[in-house]
């Protein structure tokens, strides 16, 4: 997964801050005109909006696996990685970690490059194997400087994957 262009915009920050229920005026510079506009700590996850291949966003003209006339429109593709080092395919998000090398602000334009990390297994409480997989995304600014390192861990069970396959 890679993101060629993630423009960090004040309006997007305001919408994100509303969504996480944070009234801090610093995030609403798009409305007040105050600058600079800092990004909330988990904002890098919204890079998914700028990942052309992000598999948890409906694509125009393509079938979507959520409900329409039927409970599911299409069988789920378990491939692909989560945007921003998120949950990974066909599973749930187990962990998320961010390291901030400098504050992220509106006006920054980031790139994101994701590398797979470790994979490990655990026995689930209700039987079945839990498979954890890690991905690490580096977000860099226009100068190539590292701004945020994001590490996500996704977990899936063999059982769920078989049901969905």
């Amino acid at each position: 997964m890679s993101i060629d262009r993630f423009p960090v915009e004040a309006g997007h920050i305001a919408l994100f801050a509303r969504a996480i229920g944070d009234p801090n005026p610093a995030y609403y510079g798009a409305l007040s005109g105050e600058e600079p506009v800092p990004a909330p700590p988990t904002f890098a996850q919204a890079s998914a909006q700028f990942d052309p291949d992000y598999f948890l966003r409906p694509k125009i003209g393509q079938p979507w696996f959520g409900s329409g006339r039927e409970a599911t429109g299409v069988k789920r593709d378990s491939g692909g990685g989560g945007g921003g080092g998120g949950g990974g395919g066909g599973g749930l998000h187990a962990e998320q970690h961010f390291e901030y090398h400098r504050p992220l602000r509106a006006g920054d334009v980031l790139t994101g490059t994701t590398q797979p990390g470790n994979t490990w297994e655990k026995q689930g409480r209700r039987g079945g194997k839990l498979i954890f997989s890690e991905s690490v995304t580096e977000y860099r600014d226009q100068k190539g400087e590292l701004v945020i390192t994001a590490r996500g861990v996704g977990v899936r069970t063999e059982t769920v994957v078989q049901q969905e396959a």
Partner: protein, 131 residues
């Protein structure tokens, strides 16, 4: 910058009643449109869950406020969590951050958000710049 010492703690009520609409807001803002979070029909009939549940990242994002209210929107050096329990519409969430150590201008913190039953839903750590 905040001035803190080991043991200092802050709590914040994040929501008294998490709404489905807030989960929809988060889907739109973050770009994560996984139907597990907004599509009850899919979630019950296909995925086999009791109903839609919040993005882990929504809970992590909401929880971050206890840190940024304390250390400022640009005060964090790191922030990470494990998602230990699902959050459903109707849940009430309270976040608590506690300073576990301070050295060389950096405070290390433990962070936890619990639901109305007192069960942790996310647990994690953070580092912040301090005086």
């Amino acid at each position: 910058m905040a001035s803190v010492k080991e043991g200092d703690t802050r709590s914040l009520v994040l929501t008294e009643d998490l709404t489905r609409t807030q989960i929809v807001q988060y889907a739109g803002a973050s770009g994560d449109y996984n139907p597990l979070h907004t599509d009850d029909k899919f979630t019950k009939e296909i995925a086999g869950y009791p109903g839609v549940f919040a993005h882990g990242m929504l809970t992590m994002g909401m929880t971050g406020r206890v840190l940024t209210d304390w250390f400022g929107a640009e005060g964090l050096l790191s922030y990470g969590v494990r998602f230990v329990k699902q959050v459903f519409p109707g849940d009430a969430l309270t976040a608590t951050a506690t300073v576990t150590s301070v050295h060389d201008g950096v405070a290390e913190l433990s962070v936890e958000t619990v639901n109305q039953a007192g069960e942790p839903v996310v647990t994690g750590t953070a580092k912040a710049r301090v005086e």
